[in-house]
Every structure is written in C-alpha cells, then in structure tokens.
C-alpha cells in the first residue's frame, strides 16, 4: 500500500474559497453569487477584492439560479453558492429549466453536503444531491476529496463551458493531494494499485478508503483505490480496467445508495463486466444531529466499514 501522509487538515469549502479568489484575479468574467451564506462559503476574500462581481441574493435560492442563468447572457461565468440542500432539492426545477435544459454556463457550488454537516441535523444534511444532479442532462457533477483538490476543481470548472455541480463540505479533513495538481474533469485518479479488490470512493470517503487500504494491507489484502472525483461524466474506462483485474469492487460515498456513485458504478459493471459490488453509503434514511465523526460511524461511512465491505466483495468473487 502506497503511503499517504498529511501535515494539515482543512475544510474543502475553504478550498473553494481559495479557488474562487484565484479565479477572481485571473478571469474577469467570474461572478460570485450567494443566498445569505457568504461566510459559510468562504467568499470573504473574493468579496473584498471584487465587490462589483459579487451578487448577494438574500435568502432566495430559486431567484439566484435564475439570475445566474441570466448572467451567462452577457458572457459572465456565475458561481452560485449556498448549502448543498438549498442548491439542489429546493431549486430543482429552476436548475432543470433555466440552467440545464437551457445549457447555461452556471457553476453551482454547494457546501455542507452530507452527514458531516453535523449538529444542524437532517434538514440540512442532504444525501440525495448527487443523484438529483447527475440525472439532469447537460450537468457535470464533481465531488472533490480535500482542500487542494477542491481548489483545483473550482479553477478547472471556470475553463469548462456548461453547467456544473461542485459539491464540498464543512469539516476539516486531511490534505493529501498535491497543491499544484491540475484538475481534469471526468478523469478518475488511481491512488493505489492492487490486485485484490477495487475501491471507488468520492469526497470525504476517499481518505477513509486510504485508511481502509492500510488496514487491508496489514491483513495481506492489496486494494486498488480510485478517487472518483467526477460522478458525471463517469470514468467508466478506469472503473472497468480496474475491475477486470480485481473482479470485485466497493463503492464509498457520503450519499444515499440510491442515485449516488455506487449506483453509477453498478450500472457500469452490469452493462459491461458484471462483478460483485459492495456499496458504502446511506441506506434510504435521513441523517440526524451529532458530531461528524459520530454520524459517520453510526451510518457506517468509515474506514472500518470499507474494510468489511472489501472482504465481503472478495468473498463473493466467482
């Protein structure tokens, strides 16, 4: 197992804040919008340097999505920011008609996704956003894993033309990807090569998968760990290449099993190369209040759960 270390932990939303500040300096068309959550989305730096390109929308997310679509008419690149719940489910029809069907160059940037939002509870812990967004034609869906990758993804989506959903979170997590990485949309990243089982992880579960890989290595199992930062378009080639070798897989995500990464991996395998797949995610339930660590443990989104899933997948190999 390749060794991954970190010297610092930061929240992925701060990676977004760093990315959009850099974009502000390099791309005069970038505009940042928020719905009364500028602080939570780490927009302070951008607002200070570029007050004219900052659009406060107040607590009206539906309008923010429409305003974003309108800003593209005139060549702007709007980054519409709020919590993941209010950026997706609350405004699904606005995204569907004014952004995706109209194919507008809007970047929906959503923080506080998933259980790791913590104490605020299930009203805010959206676990369905990836599914809702990936179902929309024209939409690209990205879920980076740490500060550096979120910053790189933020910068990359400004270059890409088309609607994007960029999902990140609130808790501090290890920074283990390179600061100077170039983010390639739709390109899965192999973090460790191994013959025994493929682990496809996204977002906060990538670090858990690395920890799981270390535990498995201690037990003589070498896992192939792949960071699927882009849920759509899915890097099917990377998934199939890995599973053709390992012949079994685990998916891991901070999301409902319905509609998430695992669901996409399952489709890919079923259509191309059927193989056992164990899925780590939330089983058709809402979240609840608690600390992020408590919640991830209770809902089974940990390195230990991934280890057990990997063993089940291996046991099911034909």
């Amino acid at each position: 197992m390749k060794k991954y270390t970190y010297t610092e932990k930061k929240d992925t939303r701060s990676g977004f804040g760093a990315g959009i500040l850099e974009l502000g300096r390099t791309n005069p068309n970038v505009v940042a919008l928020t719905a009364d959550l500028a602080g939570s989305l780490k927009l302070e730096g951008f607002i200070k340097e570029f007050p004219d390109r900052y659009v406060q929308c107040g607590i009206s997310e539906a309008n923010m999505m429409g305003v974003s679509a309108g800003l593209t008419i005139g060549g702007k690149i709007p980054f519409a920011t709020t919590f993941a719940n209010f950026a997706t489910g609350r405004v699904y029809d606005q995204i569907r008609q004014s952004i995706c069907y109209s194919n507008k160059n809007v970047k929906i940037c959503a923080s506080h996704a998933g259980l790791t939002l913590g104490e605020d509870g299930a009203t805010h812990q959206i676990l369905e956003d990836l599914g809702m967004m990936k179902m929309l034609p024209n939409m690209t869906v990205i879920n980076p894993c740490d500060f550096n990758q979120t910053k790189a993804a933020t910068i990359a989506i400004a270059e890409f033309v088309g609607p994007v959903y960029l999902r990140f979170g609130r808790p501090v997590v290890p920074i283990f990807t390179p600061a100077d990485q170039k983010f390639e949309i739709g390109k899965a990243l192999v973090l460790n090569e191994g013959p025994d089982v493929s682990i496809f992880a996204t977002g906060h579960l990538v670090w858990e998968s690395i920890k799981a890989g270390e535990i498995l290595a201690g037990q003589g199992i070498e896992a192939e760990i792949i960071n699927i930062h882009t849920i759509k378009p899915l890097d099917e080639e990377a998934i199939l290449n890995s599973v053709r070798k390992t012949r079994c897989a685990v998916s891991a995500e901070e999301h409902q099993l319905n509609g998430g990464l695992g669901d996409s991996v399952a489709q890919t395998l079923a259509r191309n190369y059927p193989a056992p797949l164990e899925m780590i995610g939330v089983h058709d339930s809402f979240g609840e209040s608690g600390t992020p660590d408590q919640l991830m443990k209770k809902y089974g989104l940990t390195a230990e759960a991934i280890v057990e899933a990997a063993k089940r997948a291996i046991a099911r190999k034909m």
């Binding site: 429409g66 309108g70 005139g74 702007k76 004014s98 109209s102």
Partner: protein, 287 residues
C-alpha cells in the same frame, strides 16, 4: 416604423398564431393573440437589435450592445415564434414545423435546438424575471446601456420565485430592466381573481420598490408610447414594471373575453372564421 405598417404585421402575426395552433391541434392561442401588439411593437419598433444590411435581425446569444427580450410565460410561444421569424431570426416557412417532431419550434421555447432568438427555456412559470435580472446585471457589469425586457403572465404572479426576483431587482438598482405583466385576468382554471386573487399588482410592485406604469396592450400606439416613456424613466435606480391590460384572444371575436381559449386550438370552421377577421394585407404573406 409607421403605425399602419405595424398594424399590418400584427394582423399577420395573429394569422400565423391561429394557423400554427390549428395545424397541430394544440398550443396556446389566447394569450398569444393578446400579447401580439406588445411583441410586434418591441421587435419592429422599440428594441434596438443587431440587424444585417437588409434589416433582418441577427442572433447573438450574449445580446451584447443590443436590447434583449425574455418571454417568461413560455406557453405563448406561437406569438414569440411568429414575431422572431418575421423579424428575420429564422425562415418564416419554419413556422409550419411548430410542435412537430424534430422541430426547432418546441411546444415551449427552448435553446436545445438552437432556434435563433431564444436565449433561455421557459414554460415552467415564474423563472423569467430572475433570468432577466441576471441579464440586466450582466449589462451593468459590461457597461452596456441597452435595456432588458421581460414579459410575464398575470396568473404567473402566483409563483413565489417572481417575488424573490421582484425583491432582488430594486435592491440591486436594476434600472435597465423593463418588466411587463400581461394583465388579461384569465388563467387555466378561470378568472384570475377567482382562482387566486393577485389583488393590486401595481401596489405590490410599488411597495417592492418598482416604478409602476400601465398601458393598453391592444392599442399599438399606446404600447409604443408607453414603452418609450418607460425608457425615459429608466436610469433612476428603479426597475420599471408595466401593467399591460389586454384581452385574451384579441383579434378573433369568439376567442376574446374567456379563459376557454388559453390552451385550445380552433377546428377547421373556427379557423376559417378567425382568418376572415384577420385579412392579409399588402406585402404580407402566410407562411
């Protein structure tokens, strides 16, 4: 343009509308006929649009350095398509494909088929004012002095998003935005004041910080005069709202004054009666 010529165009557009919905036995003639004078006034007189040497409109998705119009109540697509075609955005003959398979003229306006003149999809109500706010904001950022126009329905005012946008526009001083509400008093289930009473929309918008005007939407002279007056009132840090009093189905007597022709097409006999009331004028031709 001379008012007489504009009236001829409006009559031809109304012919297009009833023929288009008759041809596919679907679509929304009532609101389309009621808003014909507004769209003709905008596209043939009031708006400053990019045009070629022959005067045909040229489409630029970004609408840089030109006025721009958004149709929020997308179901009145027949009038929009007819006016766009007759402005030169696409061939008039293409009106015959309305609502048919593989057409660029979808039931409700869409950008997916790349029909020149359409900048955003509409049909699901309540979204157009927000989009217009964004476009008006972009014009401010671009220091582009042109106007953004948007048309909404009166039934549409029941959508919550409209009031989010109505709050947003004055807050951000979008005084390059001219919104029009088609006040025909009708919606699918009946008269608007019985289905869900909007009460005094002028007072509402005024309270939200808008400059509010009224016009007679089926009097072309009054439409043009009011739109020009609205331009004169722009630039005062307030968006402008025009309450446009119209008659649904205007121009075809049996379609007027009722919500029954909101989304119903005329049959062969009714079409003949309607076309008799909308005579072709010199220089105009059916598609």
């Amino acid at each position: 343009m001379e008012i007489e010529n504009l009236q001829h165009i409006a009559t031809q557009v109304r012919r297009d509308i009833v023929r288009m919905v008759h041809a596919v036995n679907s679509g929304h003639p009532g609101g389309s006929l009621g808003c014909t004078d507004l769209l003709v006034a905008l596209y043939f007189d009031v708006m400053r649009l990019k045009r070629d040497e022959e005067g045909k409109a040229i489409f630029d998705m970004d609408a840089r350095d030109e006025d721009v119009f958004f149709l929020s109540n997308g179901h009145i697509s027949p009038v929009f398509y007819s006016v766009l075609a007759r402005s030169g955005y696409f061939p008039v003959s293409e009106l015959a494909t309305f609502r048919k398979l593989d057409s660029r003229l979808q039931g409700h306006p869409a950008t997916a088929e790349h029909l020149p003149g359409i900048r955003v999809a509409s049909g699901s109500l309540g979204q157009g004012l927000s989009v217009a706010c964004g476009a008006a904001f972009a014009k401010k950022l671009n220091k582009d002095p042109h106007f953004v126009y948007v048309l909404m329905g009166d039934g549409e005012q029941q959508e919550g998003q409209v009031w989010e946008a109505a709050t947003f526009a004055p807050h951000h001083k979008l005084d390059n935005l001219i919104a029009v509400i088609d006040l025909n008093g009708q919606q699918i289930d009946g008269p608007t004041n019985l289905v869900m009473n909007n009460r005094d929309l002028g007072e509402k918008y005024r309270a939200f910080g808008w400059e509010v005007m009224e016009m007679k939407g089926n009097d072309l002279r009054n439409v043009i005069d009011t739109l020009k007056e609205a331009q004169g009132r722009a630039g005062q840090e307030k968006p402008i709202l025009i309450l446009m009093h119209t008659e649904m189905g205007y121009g075809v007597d049996f379609m007027m004054g009722s919500h029954k022709w909101h989304g119903v097409a005329p049959n062969d006999e009714q079409l003949a009666v309607a076309l008799n009331q909308l005579p072709v004028t010199a220089g105009m031709e059916d598609y």
